[in-house]
Amino acid sequence: MRLALSAMLLACSQTLLAAGTVHEYQLENGLKLVVKEDHRAPVVVSQVWYKVGSSYEHGGITGLSHMLEHMMFQGTKNHAPGEFSRIIAENGGEENAFTSQDYTAYYQRLEKDRLPVSFELEADRMRNLLLQQKEYDKELKVVMEERRLRTEDQPTSLTYEQFAAVAFTTSSYRNPTIGWMNDLENMRLEDLQGWYKRWYAPNNAVVVVVGDVVPEDVLKLAKKYFEPLKPETIIPPKPRREPEQEGPRRITVQVPAEVPYLLMGYKAPVLKSAGEDWEPYALEVLSGILDGGDGARLTRNVVRGAQVAASAGAGYDLYDRQEGLFLLDGTPANSTSMQTLEAALHEQVKQLQDAPVTDEELARVKAQVVASNVYQKDSIMGQAMQIGQLESVGLDWSLMDEYVARINAVTAAQVQAVARKYLVEERQTVAVLKPLPMDAAHKPHPSLPGDQTHVR
């Protein structure tokens, strides 16, 4: 065991040398720049993270952050709609953007010498977006199609959306990131204009660059393109802290589907909200004990052992901006009832509360964390994502360097303690997807012709 451990430590130190160090800068207008060197390939990833997402929204305006993300490609004072994408494409680049509860981020992957192309375009759309009615009308249709594709016609996504809206009472984590359809229908261009002015400013943004670059050169470029931008007065959103949950909650989602689905969540602290900062790391380990690898408890006991689930998983994110959920989910095996599956997942929770996890299990989780820490460095995009996610919720990027040590410090007693404290009935919400028949009688638009499935 000792031998193995020293090999791990060696592996880590080699990795740090290969991957280079992180450099952090602040421009005079408040923009933060984080640069990480990785010289393995002549490429660079450039990301701009804005501290705004669906958890900054409130009832009636859900989906605004995500819609604004779409509009960021629809023209500025200097570039016509769609030109951003054309310029990146002609530079051999790959680009995309994503919105979550806590952030909105934009990225380009480029050959290393093309970084100025990214900075010029990103700086331009940080302050100069046009937001015109014609593009807005069309793009709103696209977003509605996206909602239909990703949520309306996806029984498990629909279940999660309803689940989150019940699990949280006041917390803005109840908002679907893509927005409720009715909110999209009633969104106006002026809403977006206000949202853009309020959040898209250098002092509310973090630029992350990872790749085959020299940090000082990146700083020079950042000063050239971003420093002329004027900051805004940023008023943080109201906390809307979730009140204590006073008992279990349960919903049923009935939609046309073939396979039932179970989702269970427990309110759990995150690094930003935890009184005891070891607790989120213990919850991470707990998640690993349940679902870290094919030898972890859910697969071993519920899928292979009792064979009551076709699949089962656990999820927890310690880097959320606000108190979140520790999630368990599962799909029952063919002949298994939802009650049996739910009882089996509860039994797994109870075992974690009743007895400490074994040394061998703990060692397996830690071994995977140590190895993953090396594997992650194979992706420059992944490295940039880690930095951006932390910085955009107001955590320091350097926490990622502490992660392995913090996980290694977690004890079996601490895992048992967080299971007893947080995976309890009073903090629980359960959602059950109960399939309706997939025939025409249950189609979503009753006005449509009611004939059977047919092929012609």
Binding site: M8, A97, L149, G293, A371, I380, R456
Partner: protein, 442 residues
């Protein structure tokens, strides 16, 4: 895990069903590929990458669903069972050992190929036992009856899940329409009747026939030297019987008439897949068709289809076209999804856009822009070990030349407007396409 998937929304994500592994480029950053053949016939493809203390290994076999014969789902079930018990070790024992080493063992199968992959730290304490497990899984799977039954049941649940996904339903009908009696028509996940019929003997025979050295390609990337890579390849290969390469698949017959199939599904959107058998990996028209398709619908947010369907009309979140070159002619496909009542308009614009491109070809400006993207982005496609090891496996599996990557950009640059127009006219026939429509309004 589930939370991450459910919480984040990505903007552009075009239809990823038809990604081609070979997207482009000149090998400016890629070290030369080292190639040799093991004593019992496995081709080895190796690129050293000493920067990170880890190794990726991928062993690929011609053992995909196109070899299912009368038992759809056999290739997938066999592949999925490999690590569910081997050399007397239970699934739990294998999984616990791998987890304890921090090693990641993966497996999967498509229509042409099936594979097992390993990612491990490269020091002997981790690497040797991890490779030992990979060898056992590849060469001595136990196929215990209780494991077969469980995995069969799980596959049946997955099959039912795919029946609630309009995109999966469309893909199933689409391949049937394109490939008729050809093995590519077979659904990789299988059918309920077939999955219930597959016996241990079928699985064992499939493994004996296809998981053999002469049918294997071994790709290695990572912090390992040439002698180490040779030892590794020998170890993996020697555990397998020499065997024979899989028999070549039959040639795909072109479609002789257009077809349109409507499948009801209680969804708010209608999914459309339209196309025909396209090209194989070694097709002489590959480059003009590849470059042309980038302009038509392969270039993400800047393609003609995206411009007409999404940017001008807001009809679809994701619209694209793609050639998927396979061992035999893989599909050329156009796809979109739109609100049920917009189907007619979306279909009309899709067909008109294809027809116009087919008749007129690209403009000079479009061709220049396409070449700039394809050649200028090469470094991105090989910027990680995980990407390089997949490239090596594809080069080996399809027998592409070792300088395929080095010469790629030159071949792209040599493509002319006339070649694109000529290749599309000869190889793409808008009036001989199958159209599959899945949704709630028909």
């Amino acid at each position: 895990m589930c939370a991450d998937q459910l919480k984040r929304i990505v903007r552009t994500g075009t239809v990823l069903l038809f990604i081609s592994l070979f997207v482009s480029g000149v090998a400016q950053a890629m070290p030369a590929i080292q190639h040799w053949t093991t004593e019992n016939g496995a081709g080895v493809y190796f690129v050293p990458a000493p920067e990170l203390p880890m190794v990726d290994v991928r062993v690929v076999f011609a053992a995909g669903s196109s070899h299912d014969a009368a038992l759809p789902g056999l290739a997938g079930l066999t592949n999925g069972l490999l690590d569910q018990g081997a050399a007397g070790l239970s699934a739990d024992a294998i999984a616990e050992r791998l987890d304890g080493l921090g090693a990641q063992l993966g497996s999967g199968s498509l229509r042409d190929m099936a594979w097992v992959s390993l990612r491990s730290l490269n020091d002997a304490e981790h690497f040797d036992p991890a490779v030992d497990l990979m060898v056992k899984v590849l060469s001595q799977p136990d196929f215990n009856p209780q494991d077969i039954d469980r995995e069969r049941e799980r596959t049946l649940v997955a099959l039912r899940q795919s029946e609630q996904q309009p995109d999966d339903i469309a893909e199933y009908h689409y391949f049937k329409a394109l490939y008729g009696q050809h093995p590519y028509a077979s659904r990789p996940i299988g059918t309920e009747a077939s999955l219930k019929r597959i016996t241990r003997g079928d699985i064992k025979a499939f493994h004996d026939n296809y998981y053999v050295a002469a049918n294997a390609t071994i790709a290695i990337v990572g912090d390992i030297d040439r002698p180490g890579a040779e030892r590794l390849a020998r170890r993996l290969s020697a555990a397998l019987p020499a065997g024979k390469p899989a028999a070549p698949l039959p040639v795909v017959e072109p479609l002789t008439k257009a077809s349109e199939e409507h499948v009801f599904h209680p969804s708010t959107q209608t999914h459309v897949m339209m196309g025909a058998p396209g090209i194989s990996r070694t097709d002489p028209d590959f480059f003009p068709l590849y470059v042309g398709n980038y302009i038509l619908g392969g270039g993400g947010l800047v393609s003609r289809l995206n411009e007409e369907i999404r940017e001008k009309r807001g009809l679809s979140y994701s619209v694209s076209s793609a050639f998927l070159p396979m061992a035999q002619a893989g599909p050329f496909t156009l796809g979109l999804q739109t609100r049920n009542d917009q189907l007619d308009e979306a279909l009309r614009v899709l067909r008109e856009t294809l027809q116009r491109f087919h008749d007129q070809g690209p403009t000079e400006k479009e061709l220049v822009a396409a070449k700039k993207n394809i050649t200028g982005g090469f470094a991105l496609r090989i910027d990680s070990n995980s990407k390089i090891v997949e490239y090596l496996a594809v080069i080996g599996f399809y027998g592409l030349p070792l300088d395929y990557l080095e010469t790629f950009n030159d071949k792209v640059m040599a493509v002319t407007r006339e070649q694109v127009r000529d290749a599309f006219r000869r190889r793409v026939h808008p009036d001989l396409m199958a159209t599959v429509i899945v949704g709630g309004n028909q």
